[in-house]
Symmetry: C2
Subunit: 243 residues, 2 copies
């Protein structure tokens, strides 16, 4: 039997690939990992599409009780639905490793991820340095990663943390305030802030920190990009569309 | 009318998303960009799926004759199919910019990209530094990017160039030889080489340069990863599955 790690892409059930949908039809148990990001659709809409019951799996289930998911996959076709691409988080690499140890076939079905879709800002993807996330608890990591990338003339993608179950998210205004506090940006630095990339109502706002922070971005997920100090003229032209 | 930039994902027609397929059904002219990478299916298989005629567009058409594509999109719904995610190449950013200037709506439909799917090697995506490609002509850029990333303990993804129309590709053995020549790796360095990531018959081989270079990787697309000097133990465990 097979454990399918299936990417859901960025917005809703229509971002599933044909391959992903086909695999889901063969599965008898389907878990939906609901804590790393948020889709703009309800679980029920994926259930309607697949005609299958979907079990929501929280962090504990996926990270600590992975045994349960693996044990099931030894006996039946199991799917774990993951927002974005299943290979963008370490947790899922663990599934590959543990499945291999137990001789369970593990199939990965890739999909769009914010790590690539962020290219829609016009900032060139090959010029991005290390990615960082900003957690709720104060952390020095984002500032350190940004500084290192700036030194290498690389862009930095900063993913803002969220807890979908509690309807909590780190807002763009809050994230910007923390970066100002850490002195990696100033009120007049160029910054790009985005909400719901990949959705019809996505917002991409480029400009000076003091202007961008006043935008109403609506619902998460959010991310920031701190552009490299030197931009290509096409990058500049693309950002000008977002001012 | 709308210009749709639609990602095809990594392997074949089944990697299209439901949203992508829906958009294609509304389009009267569909271009397929056939020079940045290769799919493991023929144009005809996408035609069979969409029931639409597809026009192959080479580099000249997409980069220099974009005027023709834009002019069409002023009058009808047009799609440009792109392997991977449409936002991973600068060319497509140009379309966003030019469409905006002409008041043409431009919709981007994201999909899986090698830039994220490479996470299947087990190397953590947030630890990747700048990406580089290795062209047919000798270039110092890949070596420079690798050196900079190594200094920051970052992984480097190296995309190997190909010319699908001429059935030419830079092989993994050749790419490794060039990196040995430039002294950024040695025969005993750890390296990861991959072919056809995202396909059922993908090959991921990790190990010392002298061993990896002797593997038969089959058909392209190929890429290399030069891992960061310090690995996390989960990264090591994941790479051990690929030795």
């Amino acid at each position: 039997m097979t454990l399918h790690l299936i990417g859901l892409g960025l917005c809703d059930q229509n971002d599933l690939t044909l391959r992903g949908l086909e695999a889901l039809k063969k599965c008898t148990t389907i878990y939906f990992e609901n804590y790393t990001s948020v889709l703009q659709c309800k679980k029920e809409e994926i259930e309607n599409l697949t005609k299958k019951k979907i079990i929501e799996a929280d962090r504990e289930q996926v990270e600590n009780k992975s045994e349960e998911i693996l044990a099931k996959a030894q006996k039946e076709n199991v799917a774990l639905l993951v927002i974005g691409d299943p290979m963008s988080a370490t947790t899922h690499i663990n599934f590959l490793i543990e499945a291999k140890k137990r001789n369970i076939t593990c199939e990965v079905i890739h999909n769009a991820s914010i790590l690539t879709a962020i290219g829609i800002t016009g900032l060139q993807l090959y010029k991005f340095g290390k990615t960082t996330s900003m957690p709720f608890a104060d952390s020095s990591t984002p500032a350190e990663v940004i500084k290192e990338n700036q030194k290498n003339n690389a862009h930095t993608l900063v993913l803002l943390d969220l807890i979908p179950q509690k309807n909590q998210c780190l807002t763009i205004a809050e994230a910007i305030m923390r970066l100002l506090d850490k002195k990696v940006i100033t009120e007049t630095s160029l910054i790009v802030a985005t909400a719901r990339i990949g959705c019809k109502d996505q917002i991409i706002k480029a400009g000076m920190v003091k202007d961008v922070r006043q935008t109403n971005f609506g619902k998460p997920p959010y991310c920031l990009v701190i552009p490299a100090p030197k931009l290509h003229f096409i990058e500049e032209e693309a950002l000008n569309l977002r001012r």
